[in-house]
Amino acid sequence: MLAIKLAFKNILGAGFRTILNISVLSFAFVVIIFYNGVLEGWNQQARRDTIEWEIGQGQLWHPDYDPLDFFSYQDAHAPLPEAVQAEVAAGQLTPILLTQASAFPQGRMQGVILKGIDPKQPILKIPTALLADQDGQTPALIGKRMAHAIKAKEGDQLLVRWRDKNGTFDALEVTISGIFDSNVPTIDAGQIWLPLERLQQMLSMPGEATYLVAREGFVPANAAPWVFKGQDFLLADLDTIIQSKKGASGIMYGLLLIIALLAIFDTQVLSIFRRQKEIGTYIALGMTRWQVVGIFTVEGATYSILAILLGALYGTPLLWYLAKVGWAMPSASQDMGISIAEKIYPVFGFGLILGTILLVVLSATVVSFLPARKIAKINPTDALKGKIQ
């Protein structure tokens, strides 16, 4: 208690240096919360979007299906397993069939994936209702990235060519019946969505699917050899990318924090050197050396308390505002292959704030303690004479 009171008086008496230390540390404090808040907001948005647009509550995969291996697509199809027929009928699972194909926008040839989905599916956010029958034409749905890549707009015709089950080439003009706007590139770039039955017919694979997407409440039952992939598995790539982003931004604000801590360390070293007589006097008045170490350590820790208070003062309105209006992501980050919105709404959780407070207080305490530790070894008579180097 005495130490805290003394610490406040001492560092408030130290003027400019105090202001500098506290400002830099409070800036580091706010930046750490900001960065992590943006990443958390991104993480939450990306998970939510990926679940809503792509993976649902999990997917039941054909045993040969490997989304990263295009050559697997050729064999990764089969009639729906018996065990899940009822769930499909009840709308708990929706089948998706896919194949590699070529499209010919403006006479160029481009590799695409054709994906067949039930126009009435209630699970994914993809506006599949736009795939409903359109008198004889074949409706196709694409995302905004794909539309941009092939310079297509609604109503355009697009020639696609594919091989059916027997390896025979066939071709057809599809009509772009809708362009959807999703933050999830993996259901958009290079993909053309068609009505499931139409695609099954084109491929001569009636009743077949590559994977099924589950709706909330789906309980994975044994449908061997099909395998159920849960959200954790399907979101693992996303988690990895977010983690690596966390690491990268950690280095950045870590540097900022280190600068702030160095300033405190330096202040401590100087202050211990300049205040030798005071240290000697504390000991003469009956403090033990370790109590004096405590005074100086608390003093350094007090910087962090003041920095947090200052950070809260300007950080709260600032971060609150950002959480409300969102943070525009640089357009370069749009092509990362995982979901990222144009604007991210940072999420500043209680745990993040508390954790950052602890980090700042603990690290400031440690860098204050390191130089102060020296006091425990000093000779009080030398300190009183100001003779410590």
Binding site: L2, L12, G13, T281, I283, L285, Q291
Partner: protein, 236 residues
């Protein structure tokens, strides 16, 4: 009479470069409760070193120093801190007040260390400031005080816990004649009223005029130990 400090064959050597420097050599002294005594001698004669050892801020190289029944050489850091906190008061040439504290808080400090209850503490601080005549400067900070006032605050800070022994190292060296006499008179009064033992290290003639026992040091040895009676009997 009550003997409160015993020094037997005290020698203090400091390491200097590769060798050693003998700052005190074979000191034998005894002090009674209520003494008003000074160590005098030229600069470098060992006065401060002796005072520091009695104050348990330093330890003997050889010999035995016993203060209030405690052997200085054998105290742990904690024990010596407690001895200083409860029974010893220090006054320095440069006052050594805490610059960020008010006069009141400077004086209060030692009592906070003792965990004295607030009401009792408040009264003790006011009493101490009254002894030195500074009750009107309670809220001032050290840099707002004159030199004489600063040293009086230091006396109040040392006396507030009513220590058995006051150790004053050149307390008048930074003061003019008027202020020197003022604080010496204050200390004489406290010595008489509270029976506090005062030990000075000084080479100031003005201080010597108040002492009732003068111990002369030269090159770390006691060369003279004379009792005087300018203001009544020693140890009265």
């Amino acid at each position: 009479m009550e003997s409160i400090i015993q020094i037997d064959q005290l020698t203090k050597r400091f390491p200097v470069g590769a060798g050693e420097f003998t700052a005190l050599k074979d000191i034998r002294l005894e002090f009674q409760k209520g003494e008003f005594t000074g160590f005098v001698g030229p600069s470098g004669s060992g006065k401060t070193t002796l005072l520091n050892i009695i104050g348990s801020l330093d330890t003997p190289t050889e010999g035995e120093v016993t203060v209030l029944g405690q052997s200085i050489a054998h105290l742990t850091h904690k024990q010596s801190a407690k001895l200083r906190n409860q029974h010893l008061g220090f006054i320095f040439q440069t006052y050594n007040l805490f610059p960020v504290y008010t006069v009141y808080e400077n004086v209060e400090f030692a009592l906070l260390l003792q965990h004295m209850p607030a009401a009792e503490r408040h009264k003790a601080v006011l009493d101490a400031l009254e002894w030195v005549g500074l009750t009107d400067k309670i809220k001032s900070r050290p840099d707002q005080l004159s030199g004489g006032e600063g040293q009086r605050v230091a006396i109040a800070r040392a006396m507030v816990k009513r220590p058995a022994i006051m150790l004053a190292d050149e307390p008048t060296a930074n003061l003019d004649s008027k202020n020197s006499h003022h604080i010496l008179q204050t200390m004489v009064r406290l010595n008489q009223e509270l029976k506090t033992t005062f030990l000075f290290a000084t080479h100031d003639e003005k201080v010597m005029g108040y002492l009732r026992r003068i111990i002369s040091l030269e090159d770390g040895r006691v060369v003279k130990d004379e009792a005087l009676a300018p203001q009544g009997q020693a140890g009265a």
